[in-house]
Symmetry: D2
Subunit: 424 residues, 4 copies
């Protein structure tokens, strides 16, 4: 389904007066509104190809219809999102689910929608039909060299496909671990994983990065071989300068201070990217900002401060991706909500009075430091995010427009009610 | 596959001398060995029909082959387990997965294996093919009366099937809840659920019980409508004397004191039964006793004490069931390990010096109380469990015999490598 | 220290123009601004007498100076807070720390500051000098009747003092529980506690309430005898209509859904009151709203909806108290921040479009329900809270004024640097 | 109080026959009983000087009487423990609480009791009387160089005292962190802490180690500057070869897999030592093995395997210390129980069939691996621990003897009922 410019224009013109009133108000409240808007315009979030269909749990899955049936339709969906919010300008592919038959056609389609390719994702947590060795007992960690080799080769193949497409990074998320005490020798599992990663690392082009994603638990329920940021950093450090840690917000033990982890990884020059989502219990993969918006703001607060301290470019030096599961909402609506929450948290972090905060910290003025952060968070910066969209030619209220033009109904009409997108 | 008596006898005779030496030793150490053995013989654990195949997570499933393809083969598998350990004498069915076409034949088969029917389980957490209404947004809690009606009718149908088979209880586990703030009005969801349960309760035969199972989270990740023991007790109290709470060990928030919950439910006369498993992070559904064996013992310690205080019969006044998922082990081996761990914990609890413990409690002698419990737990009571098996005609070392006679290989030969048992 | 009206006026007149601009803007954004302001004016939060000094942990305590040395100075401090924000109009006393020698003088002082007496708090978690029996092994749960009697008598004495002062409620927080398995018989501990509470209940005047506070852990680290809302509700139900559950936000296991608990307690007519604070790990007793402001909003969202459904008065039918520990901030500044966060969350909850939310819920429109709640939370309603203060004669920016007139410096000057307030 | 040899002999001779029967039985069950006994004899656990008195929480402390009033009495108490169990042969001092006035006399006393000095502990989490700068906002992390300097100097002074006494290690546990978002710049806090540690490191004698202890939370409740093993390892790696990580079992987020952390630290050559205790909710500081004995065994399982793989000596290459708080038990009884649990876990780990386990792991035989570990854990190895004590001249049943000869009564008689040991 194609969203036409006139539809956006018509939508925007209806909302414009109200928007301008709000923008005028907030521009007066915030000292650097224009600078924030510019940064928001430049900021782009990668959409995972596997999150365009309805997600589920081991207990079941309730489809919503109109799901994309192939990579072309996935690109089309992300193109639509990007047209709506001008902030979803990248696609993160998952191999083998998204292997392109006609690479040139896929590249052209992506370009046509104004998108780029974010990190490529390999899959060694499932057995594919026809696969020689099973990953039941792990992939890169496996006690058998043959299984490890198969998993290494798969990752190298993913790099190859990524190179063809124009991606610049590989994300390795490993389900590897164990379900019971005694199942694994932890050190050997680590060493095997490291050696396997080293072989994959060796296959990286000069301008590529590899992101080593960690996760505390699930699908293994006793140990995970890349289980926390400490382990991921250990791998990344041993691998070399192209290896980085990837932080997924849902991959921690209860109560973890994720913003501190982010800060330390930035300090070490080893933060590679993000998988945004929200959660209450585990890797719940809920909409970004839907449960702990203040935490999301605090994470961005560390990112803005730490990246500035390292002279990093906000819009391109880290990989910013969503990784969520849409079990009870329309996946596209859910993604629009996630992007909105991320942009808002970014805007809030950009508006923090850094000079005052530094002063408060230097004088141990804890109450004042809290006031400064809360001032940024409590101020309603949504007009700045909307203005960034407006200037980029997108919709003032993407979700509203999405519903008004009946996107889902159209997709069901054209694709059918019983489609199932590849992915989780 | 049928296990012959001579195979058990031959196995036992090889191990007998060693067993008798151990039994003689422990009989001298424990004051009431014979009484414990008698209670162990009487004790039976229900095996869930859905746990006979390989389990999985939302990320995938790695089959192990030879899985039962229908209810008859499931009964056969449990019959084999029971033959091996004489402690798996009940089967817990899941409808619609296990609906019997020929009820009389199924009853005969169950009788032939010396089994009985434990609680029946309904399923309103998935949509079945051809179902009119979807449970995407809940079943008994649903805002629509029509959906609730469908779910109520299903539960009544499960009771009907259970009556035919000779079961005496219905377990209602509800996935109902919400994934996001605002999705549900908690009170209305509770009221709808209560009213739905009342209709189901009204359909219970006089000698039946209904177990209201609670779970903290998953598959819903914000709220669950029967989310903890407090909520379950509220439903059970409002429903009436045939309604009880069912405790699944994996369904709690981190660090919950489950043994205290068990004790209080017994105090209130509202403990209905158990789903045994073990876990580290959430509802991990691991082998009972594989991670926290001391907790399992402490739970049995409360059960023995509390049931005795209420003059309840250990072997029949509660529903004792396993509810685990076998993702990386042979399901039948895993079940043998679970039953062994449960029997051992029960034996340990039976061996606690209750008089001394009471004295220690009455004098606030905390160190002594700890010594008394640790004495029971650290003493190796496995010979008593083995002796109970021996006297009941089962194997001294069930898992060893299972492997020796190559059960899994035989099952794969007869059923095939690619079978998938219905269930999770 | 007395804050003069002219100081407030001078402060307000400086900020007035900016405030009016913001108020005008937001009044245009929110449909019922005036109604919200009226409810905010009526809403009062109780300040605990024990939170006026610096708090600490078992590892130490770092004083900040100028702490109140007696009940009169505590009232003076709360009077100052109330003068600043017109929302701290009640004091919650802790006996024996705050036993008044001259009851009439204390009542007069409280009246003079425009305050009232919130719930009285008993203390059976510490041994006081000269106490006959020790609470080392519990108080109301104790195996010895004599110890229980002493604890019961203390609670009755607290009621007596409360009656004299004009309080209408008793909060019973029990540290009772156990540190090791075996230490307690859970059922007997429950029964003893219940019987003790029944004796206290019998001593309640007709127009009094008793709040049974629950807590998951600390200072006992294995079990707590009033450990969760389920247990508290059980006590409250068995006690009778004057008994209610009190919810302290920090007293739960990790990841608990507190807003659902609040909703269910309201449904049962058994929610008695609140102890506000915030936390990341346990009973951290941090400033309300400092870590999880969205959770605070969601709790108020349930309160507003549930109280309206029961025709309860927001400002008086529940006990609203802060219970925090000020370890690194000036206690008075911290309390100003807590009150501000609570008022803001209340304002946000009042601004939720209930009709639209109900519609979204009735149609399972999850994305829309989320939008509605986020709309209320993301809108900057601080001008409404400020306006409520302004109309009530208090300061537009209480913390700013507090600092400007150098309250702490004055208190240190008059009271000294090394004072230690009674309390934790 | 001095325990005489004849008292031990008399105690042992009463229990000897029963012990020998049990030993004979178990020696027949375990393949390498003698080797295990020898290792148990060599194994020594450090007792912290601060754990000899009753502990408490921020809510209070209930003394038990007879507590040691000075370093000499602390040494005497540990000497008594060591006489009873021959496994408590080291003392871990805490400065300034235990600063020795007469170093030679203290050394002589320690030697007389057959003890040695374990790691020295510094204290920068409290302000001492007369201290120039406060640690309210941290010590080694502090924004002020002067405060950091004071804390550095204190640590160097602790080393100096340790050198005089003959200790070989410094344990640095830092409470440094923050209670609220914004309070700290995480990177600066890390850098300050690192620089401070570097100055301390520079003052270490050639044969000394420094242990960098981590802790997830408490007394700071938002962030901790050495918060997890990843951070500790980062410090230790940057510091150099004499710096190691110290693992306290209670210092983790909920559900952490501590045994995996232990394994990885051993792999990196950076595991320095242990603080043993047990916990259910946080840093509960309960008796070792009192809640999760299987976890304790699994940790020792990794230690034995990992140390063997690195050719480390079990009895001396790591620091083994208890760090517990005795709130409701007699501290000396509690320590006897902790030592017993640790020795038992060590014996169980030594008895694991490593060859079989390796085979099971190499063939992904998960059920078998579990059986092997459970075989070691379920076997009752207490007779081996008792035999080790017997051969070393200590008591077969230390706690029994402790009670029989009325140690506590004697200590109260000689020291008084109202003593308070320095410490927590």
């Amino acid at each position: 389904m194609i969203l036409e410019n006139y539809q956006i224009d018509s939508h925007n013109s209806e909302l414009l007066a109200k928007h301008q009133r709000r923008l005028a108000f907030i521009a007066d409240e915030v000292s650097d509104a224009e600078a924030i808007i510019q940064k928001l315009i430049a900021f782009q979030i990668g959409i995972p190809s596997w999150a365009l269909g309805t997600g589920g749990t081991r207990f079941g899955r309730f489809s919503s219809g109109g799901e994309p049936r192939n990579i072309e339709e996935k690109i089309e969906d992300i193109g639509l999102l990007h047209k709506l919010n001008a902030a979803s300008g990248a696609i993160s592919l998952h191999i083998p689910w998204d292997t392109a038959d006609d690479v040139q056609a896929v590249k052209a389609l992506v370009a046509q929608h104004g998108l780029s390719f974010d990190a490529m994702n390999s899959n060694t947590f499932q057995d594919q039909a026809g696969q020689v060795h099973s990953y039941k007992f792990g992939s890169l960690q496996h006690v058998s060299k043959a299984v490890r080799k198969q998993a290494i080769d798969h990752n190298i193949e993913v790099i190859r496909q990524g190179v063809e497409l124009g991606s610049k990074a590989l994300t390795v998320w490993l389900a590897d671990g164990s379900c019971f005490p005694g199942q694994l020798n932890f050190r050997k599992a680590f060493q095997h994983t490291l050696e396997s990663l080293q072989e994959i690392y060796a296959a990286l082009p000069a301008d590529w990065k590899v992101f080593v994603e960690y996760k505390a638990f699930e699908p293994n329920f006793y140990s995970t071989t890349v289980g926390d940021w400490g382990q991921s950093l250990l791998y990344a450090s041993k691998l070399g300068p192209k290896a980085y840690t990837l932080v997924d917000l849902g991959h921690h033990l209860p109560n973890a201070n994720i913003e501190q982890i982010v800060s330390l990884l930035l300090m070490e020059g080893k933060l590679g990217g993000f998988h945004f989502n929200d959660s209450k219990y585990g890797d719940d993969d809920l909409t970004a900002g839907s449960l702990k918006p203040y935490q999301l703001f605090l994470i961005f607060n560390e990112l803005v401060e730490g990246m500035d301290a390292r002279n990093m470019k906000h819009h391109s030096d880290l990989g910013w991706m969503i990784d969520a599961s849409h079990n009870v909402k329309d996946p596209l609506e859910d993604l629009l909500q996630s992007v909105e929450a991320i942009m808002l948290a970014y805007a809030q972090a950009l508006s923090v009075d850094r000079k005052a905060l530094l002063e408060a910290q230097e004088t141990n003025d804890v109450a004042r430091a809290q006031e400064i952060l809360q001032q940024a968070f409590r101020t309603d910066l949504r007009p700045l995010v909307a203005e960034a969209r407006l200037r980029a030619g997108a919709a003032l209220a993407p979700l509203e427009l999405f519903r008004k033009i009946k996107v889902r109904e159209e997709l069901i009409k054209s694709r059918g009610l019983k489609t199932v997108a590849t992915g989780l």
